[in-house]
């Protein structure tokens, strides 16, 4: 047992932190938020050149990392800086699924992703699926050598920027069944896609995607027909580590900003941090931050363990992050007062990142239920 980062990861963390401190200040990020694309191509290229995307893939897949702690280190830094660029969507989910299920040809895309040349979106959730990974109602029908997809996908992050979409569809069974789900790698310019894009509350863009007789060759299928769920679950496990780490990084920023504010802002002639009520509440935030850090370590460190233990650690981390994150985001705003209510202040965005992470791949209660179910199993 030991809790030291390897030298490589320490270096990755330092490099990334310096890069973001340098290139990703509040004004830059707020300009990105206001832009039509909702992200910066320059930053994306920069991150790829730094090797940040490659760090999310194993050597076998052409990267130089890919373990739980690689994901944690990268996303903690992204969270700390409030980065809105879609690394989770393109690399962890998109790249992860292609690497896990793709054939030789399909896997060539991973190289493109690592190089920063390709965006991917994971079009899986549907208007009535909430957080249930099995609730897929999009249909797939054979049509000669082709397959035809019909259905609706909800809040598909990064959909408009994606060159390729990974679309889930049901080959057989009912909406909530584990079996019968396939994934298809569909170029964005395929006929039959309709996208209604929008910005998201915490930055980045997503879209409602309608598939109206989207016809692709059967070879676009990723992996075996009807057997995609395990790979989806594995990719989402990694995404949950990323989300937890990102939230923790954002919590670090929120507490740091609050600490600084409490030390500099004066009221009734004293720094407000010397008022006992605020000082004690600040202490509680710092305690929860340490809890969050440990939860991320536990989740990242169990990414490669047996599924039940792994899933308990993931559910545990996301539940804790939901509770501690809410506390930190709300208290940080409250202790700042009015300034934190303004869009131009750094904390506003950071608090939104923390809160909105609770809406991806299960919220606080969803993960609590999962933890309870896994405990009883």
């Amino acid at each position: 047992m030991n809790f030291d980062l390897t030298e490589e990861r320490q270096m990755l963390q330092d490099t990334l932190r310096r890069y973001l401190a340098d290139k990703y200040d509040t004004a830059t990020r707020n300009a990105i938020l206001d832009s039509d694309a909702g992200m910066s191509a320059e930053i994306w290229t920069g991150l790829a050149e730094l090797g940040v995307i490659g760090a999310l893939f194993s050597e076998a897949d052409g990267g130089f990392g890919g373990a739980g702690f690689d994901i944690a280190v990268v996303f903690e830094e992204l969270g700390r800086a409030g980065v809105v660029e879609p690394l989770m969507d393109t690399a962890i989910l998109g790249g992860g699924l292609i690497a896990a299920l793709g054939d030789e040809d399909q896997k060539l895309l991973v190289e493109e992703i690592i190089g920063g040349g390709l965006h991917v979106a994971f079009a899986h959730g549907e208007p009535s699926s909430r957080y249930d990974l099995r609730r897929v109602e999009t249909t797939v029908a054979a049509d000669g050598d082709n397959v035809v997809l019909n259905g609706r996908k909800a809040v598909v992050a990064n959909a408009e920027a994606a060159g390729q979409l990974i679309v889930s569809a049901r080959e057989s069974g009912a909406a909530g069944d584990a079996d019968g789900i396939s994934l298809f790698l569909v170029p964005a310019d395929t006929k039959g896609f309709t996208m209604r894009g929008y910005a998201m509350m915490a930055g980045g863009r997503a879209a409602e995607v309608t598939l109206d007789n989207v016809s692709v060759p059967a070879s676009a299928r990723l992996g075996a027909a009807g057997e995609a769920l395990p790979a989806i679950e594995t990719a989402v496990v990694s995404a949950n580590v990323a989300l937890a780490a990102e939230t923790m990084g954002a919590m670090e920023s929120a507490t740091a900003l609050t600490k600084e504010y409490l030390m500099t802002r004066k009221q009734f002639g004293r720094p407000i941090g010397t008022f006992q009520a605020l000082a004690h509440r600040m202490s509680d935030l710092l305690i929860e931050l340490e809890q969050a850090r440990s939860a991320v370590i536990n989740a990242a460190g169990h990414l490669e363990t047996e599924p039940r233990i792994r899933d308990m650690q993931i559910a545990s981390a996301r539940n804790l992050m939901g509770r501690a994150g809410r506390l930190v985001a709300e208290e940080a705003i409250q202790m700042h007062g009015g300034i934190a209510m303004t869009q131009e202040y750094e904390l506003a965005h950071i608090a939104k990142r923390i809160t909105m992470a609770d809406h991806r791949f299960g919220d606080t209660d969803y993960h609590l239920e999962r933890f309870i179910a896994l405990s009883a199993a």
């Binding site: 959730g125 208007p127 009535s128 909430r130 957080y131 249930d132 909800a154 809040v155 909530g176 209604r196 894009g197 929008y198 910005a199 998201m200 509350m201 915490a202 997503a206 409602e208 802002r265 009221q267 009734f268 009520a277 605020l278 809410r326 709300e330 705003i333 409250q334 007062g337 009015g338 934190a340 209510m341 303004t342 869009q343 131009e344 506003a348 965005h349 608090a351 939104k352 809160t355 909105m356 609770d358 809406h359 991806r360 919220d363 606080t364 209660d365 609590l368 239920e369």
Partner: protein, 396 residues
């Protein structure tokens, strides 16, 4: 004690319902229910309708055109308006400035301003907060220097709600810089069209433009716009802050919000069943509903007491704290209920004339969650309220 409405109270409730059913414009109530953006015109229309009925000023004495309602009637009106999705009435003129004018203004000021407030001729905003002062009102720096028949005002106000619509602003200004902080402050009425007044928008974290900075550069204000005596403004401001505030608990708003959460949770499906049946979600909902049931009674107890002339004092602070906690908890429940559909930003792409996406009402749950963090910050933060409660009950 009797928790039931009397026959008269029931009749009043029916009268309010009938009025709302008939007179509240459907396009406005639809916007309120969908938590859409209300225009200045929307708010002015509803103001005029209420004024025509004589129901605009529940807290004003009859002599000035008030309703002369008792506490229970005010409560009924609040609940029914929220239930019917009526917009809230902008309080700055009606509920904040008017009581000060009635108590401390001269006859001319009362005669001039009060009818104009009722008629909606003047849109008022409030100039209390200043940058860097937070809840420490007494440290304000905006200066008013007497120059013949005028004050020359220089300085800056902030967090001025709906100042972009306002015709007038009532301001606390420092008229004597040489005395202790709370002395030397005056209460001044300033026409926003006066040269040197500039309104700059502040965009809140949810993207909304509802507060502003108001800058004063050599603004000349006639001395007759001074309310009461020079350097006594702090007294008037305190009166305003501790004045009876029927709506401070936000009971009606919370009830309407909770109803909306129930609707959404009834239609959202989680694990094959409506979310409302999920025990963890149901537990969150039940606890806030239970808290709200109790606070609703606390509110009635307190305003009943206030109605017979006992000052609500510290109890208003209690209602503010608990009321905001409950409202913010309901906002939190709403975003949870919306699931992934809480993530979209409520821009024109997903609102307005476009079909909404996600479950009904989901479009703005996150914006409202973030926007309403203000409830515990503005208007005397919950920390200030807790300090008041402690100070009054424990002394020292």
């Amino acid at each position: 004690m009797d928790l039931n409405y009397s026959a008269e109270e029931l009749a009043f409730r029916d009268e309010v319902r009938a009025f709302l059913d008939e007179k509240l414009p459907k396009d406005i109530s639809a916007k309120v229910r969908g938590r859409g953006h209300l225009t200045k015109q929307d708010m002015e229309r509803w103001h005029a309708i209420l004024n025509e009925k004589g129901w605009l000023a529940p807290n004003w004495p009859e002599e000035y055109g008030g309703c002369a309602w008792n506490a229970v009637q005010k409560h009924i009106f609040d609940v029914e308006c929220n239930f019917a999705s009526a917009p809230r009435i902008i309080p700055f003129g009606l509920a904040m400035l008017a009581p000060v004018l009635m108590k401390f203004g001269n006859q001319q000021q009362k005669d001039h301003y009060l009818p104009r407030i009722l008629n909606g001729d003047d849109w008022w905003c409030q100039g209390y907060s200043e940058p860097g002062a937070g809840s420490d009102l007494a440290s304000l720096k905006t200066r008013a220097v007497r120059d013949g028949d005028h004050y020359i005002v220089n300085g800056q106000k902030t967090w001025t709600t709906l100042g972009q619509h306002a015709d007038w602003i009532f301001c606390l200004v420092r008229t004597d810089p040489d005395v202790k902080q709370q002395e030397g402050i005056s209460f001044l009425l300033i026409d926003m069209k006066t040269p040197g007044v500039e309104v700059r928008p502040i965009i809140l974290l949810d993207g909304a433009h509802e507060v502003n900075e108001v800058w004063f550069t050599d603004v000349r204000v006639p001395v007759e716009n001074l309310v009461g005596e020079e350097n006594k403004g702090w007294t008037y401001a305190k009166y305003l802050l501790t004045h009876e505030r029927t709506g401070i608990a936000g009971v009606g708003s919370s009830q309407a919000g909770l109803d909306a959460v129930k609707r959404m949770a009834g239609s959202e499906i989680h694990n094959g069943r409506p979310l409302i049946e999920n025990p963890h979600f149901a537990a969150r909902m039940a606890q806030v509903e239970i808290d709200l049931m109790a606070m609703s009674t606390t509110n009635l107890r307190i305003i009943s007491k206030a109605a017979v002339g006992q000052a609500p004092g510290v109890e208003a602070s209690m209602l503010k704290v608990k009321g905001t906690i409950i409202r913010q908890e309901i906002n939190d429940l709403a975003r949870r209920a919306a699931g992934p559909y809480a993530m979209p930003f409520p821009s024109e792409a997903v609102e307005g004339d476009n079909d909404p996406i996600g479950p009904e009402g989901a479009g703005v749950v996150s914006a409202q969650y973030f926007n309403n963090r203000k409830l515990s910050i503005f208007g005397g933060s919950n920390e200030i309220q807790r300090g008041i409660i402690a100070k009054v009950t424990m002394g020292g």
